[in-house]
Structure formats: C-alpha cells, structure tokens
Symmetry: C2
Subunit: 223 residues, 2 copies
C-alpha cells in the first residue's frame, strides 16, 4: 500500500516547514526575523538539505524571503503589499464563497460548513487568539473545500493570509463584533445557496478588513 502523504506531511522538510509556520502563529518567529540555516538544523535536528528545502517551500509561498548569500527572513508586508494582497483576497474569497454556495447541497457539505461556522461563532473559541485563528482557518478552508475547485485550493495557501493574520495580530481587538457579523452574513448566504449574495458578502468583508488596515499606523508595517 503506497503511503498517501500530502506535500506538507512528508518527512524531515515537512517537520521544519510546519515548525516554522506554527512558530509564526505562536510568536516564536516575528516578521523580519532572520532564519539562519545552521540554527534551524540544530533546533529541528534535521540535515541542512532538509532545512533548505523547507525554506524554499516557504519562500515559494511567500512566507519567507530569500536573498542571495543572505539569511532567509520572515517576510514583513509593507503597506503597499498589504493593500495588494487584500485586493487579491477580495477576488479570491469572493470566488470561493460563490462556489461554496453553489455546492452547499451536495454530500455532507452543509453539515461541514455549519460545523465550521458553529465553532467559529462559539464565544469559547474566541477567547484565545490561537483557537480563534485556527477556527477561522478551518472556516475558510472548509469554504474552499466545498467549492471543490482543486486549483483554487492549491493556490489559496500560496497567498500570504498567514502573514496578515500574524503581522496585525496586535491591532485586531477593535471590532470583533462587527467581524463576527460579517462571518455570519457569509455563512448565511452560503447556507441559502445564494452564490451572488455569498460572493458580495465575502468581498465586502475583505474590503472592510482592508479599510481597517489602511487606518493602522506605520508602526504596524515593517518593511
């Protein structure tokens, strides 16, 4: 029986890959920080080749940037880059929401989507940043999965949502309630099977997010 492992689950490079992404969310690594290969080799107890492979994967996804003969660094989004990314996410998430709405009736989709939304809306999960981040990721991932567009699913992780999440984490305490209403709106539209409506709901949500980020002070942007 051949092992069916996804690209991220496999061996040593995967350990490093996941370790770094996880470390990002846990605050062990912060945007701008240098990632020295020798250190990673020691920390994760794998060969330099594996470290290298993990780094180049992360670079391909845009999470770290690699300059020739310089250490890789955790990428830090500038104001302009953030704006670009938000504009792109508006389009992509709108597309994903529309697809999800169109397929809500198939299989166990409705049940899965409901589950993801329920845990996201649970005040219990909202107490802890890590729990909330995970629930939100699950929500979006479910939405994309239900949409069943293989290529979209492949491309989504290659946007830098994670960076946005982490880089502005300190500033997100403002309007939690408003955002929860957004999520509810998106979910309801998807549950209704209203593709158009879901698309605009998702787009509007991202646009509001972009507006909020625009108002952030320069200190929130590293480079």
């Amino acid at each position: 029986m051949p092992k069916t492992l996804t690209a991220k689950t496999d061996g040593s490079p995967g350990v490093v890959y996941r370790g770094i992404v996880d470390g990002l969310y846990r605050g062990r690594y912060v945007p701008g920080q240098r990632l020295v290969e020798a250190d990673l080799t020691r920390d994760f107890e794998v060969g330099r080749g594996s470290v290298r492979e993990a780094l180049s994967r992360l670079a391909a996804e845009g999470l770290v940037s690699m300059n020739l003969h310089r250490s890789a660094t955790i990428r830090s989004l500038s104001r302009a880059e953030t704006r670009d990314l938000v504009a792109l996410l508006e389009v992509l998430n709108g597309f994903a929401a529309r697809l999800a709405a169109e397929r809500i009736e198939e299989g166990v989709n409705r049940k899965q989507m409901a589950e993801a939304y329920t845990t996201l809306a649970d005040p219990e999960t909202q107490r802890d940043f890590l729990h909330f981040a995970r629930a939100r990721n699950t929500f979006y991932k479910t939405m994309v999965a239900i949409g069943a567009n293989h290529e979209l699913a492949r491309l989504m992780p290659r946007t830098n949502v994670d960076l946005i999440r982490v880089q502005f984490r300190a500033y997100t305490t403002v309007d939690d309630d408003l955002r929860m209403e957004d999520y509810r709106g998106i979910y309801d539209a998807i549950a209704e099977g209203a593709g158009r409506k879901a698309e605009t709901a998702a787009k509007n949500h991202i646009r509001r997010l972009g507006d909020a980020i625009d108002k952030l002070p320069d200190a929130a942007f590293g480079g």
Copy 2:
C-alpha cells in the same frame, strides 16, 4: 554591489528550472513524462541537490507532481482539473485586466501595452508556435505588470497556464481568428481605460477558451 537576482535567475537550480520549463514548450518534455533525478543531474550537469530544489519549485507551482519515493512527473491535467483551472483563470485574468485598464495612463504603461499587443497581433509572430506562445506570455505578463498588484504578479505564475498551453497545443488550430479578436477586445478596453469593460472582455475570452476545451476528446487529457 550586491547582486540583484530574481528568484528564477539564480544559480544552478535556476538552470534546471528554466531548462525544464523551456523543454516543456519545446516538446522535449511532455505531460506524464517521468523526470528522474539522476538523468537531470547528467543533462544539466549540476548536483542532485540543485535538481531536487528545482523540482520542488516546479512542484510548488504545480507544473510537476511529486509522489513519495516515485519519480517526479510532468503534470497532466485531467478534464476536471482543467475546468477548475479555467474557472480560476477567468477570475484572475478579469482582475488583472481591470487593474491594467485603471492604470493605463501611468508612466510608460500605454506604450508597453501597445507594444505587447502589436507583436502579438503581428501575423509574422503567429506563424511559429514558439514565437506566438512567447508573445502571448508577454502580453499577459505586461497586463499583470501594469496592474501593479505585486501579490497578483507573484501568484500568476503559480497557476498552471503553461500546462494548458502545452497540453492542448495540438488542438489549437481551430479558431485562431476568433481568439485574435478576443485579444483585440481586451486590448482596446484596456487602452480606453475602461476597467469594467476590460474585466468582462478578459473573462469572456477565458470562458470561450473553456468551452473550446470542453469539446475536446478524452484523448487530450492524460490523467
């Protein structure tokens, strides 16, 4: 003076990377073909580590697929995958066209766009598949560049347009004229600075492409 090299231009892995992409367009590699590391090491005269890094980059972009303990293979799009990809490209290209139209007045954008379109429309370049493919790539790349959305530019090459281009190359002789009209429509809308119009023109073009592909026989799809 620090060398300013882009991710694809750098050293040995870049040689392999570009060699394979180029080989794809030249027909040296065909979808489904196995890529044995030892062979590539010999052909490109670089270390296995570099070959490995190039392969994982290509895998990250979706051009080759890597299975555990099996050779990497040039990916072959199934009918469903192609449909998904086309639907995604419709959204992304629409976005790119809109952005380009909105910024056509800035700097040398108008001139560059006109140039790209002119060489694309030149009957001379349309005679040879390789020339035409290159001109079309330039056309789209210019459009994206003018749009000036850094994240979109980063993400576009990670779609599998190249695969579509190559895999269905044998079947594209049908409606060249119709497609040239499409390009003209897109270009005109961009030149007018009409964002909405450019978006729908690009979307319609991709949709027509998708319809054409839908009518292709099963033989066109490998896996």
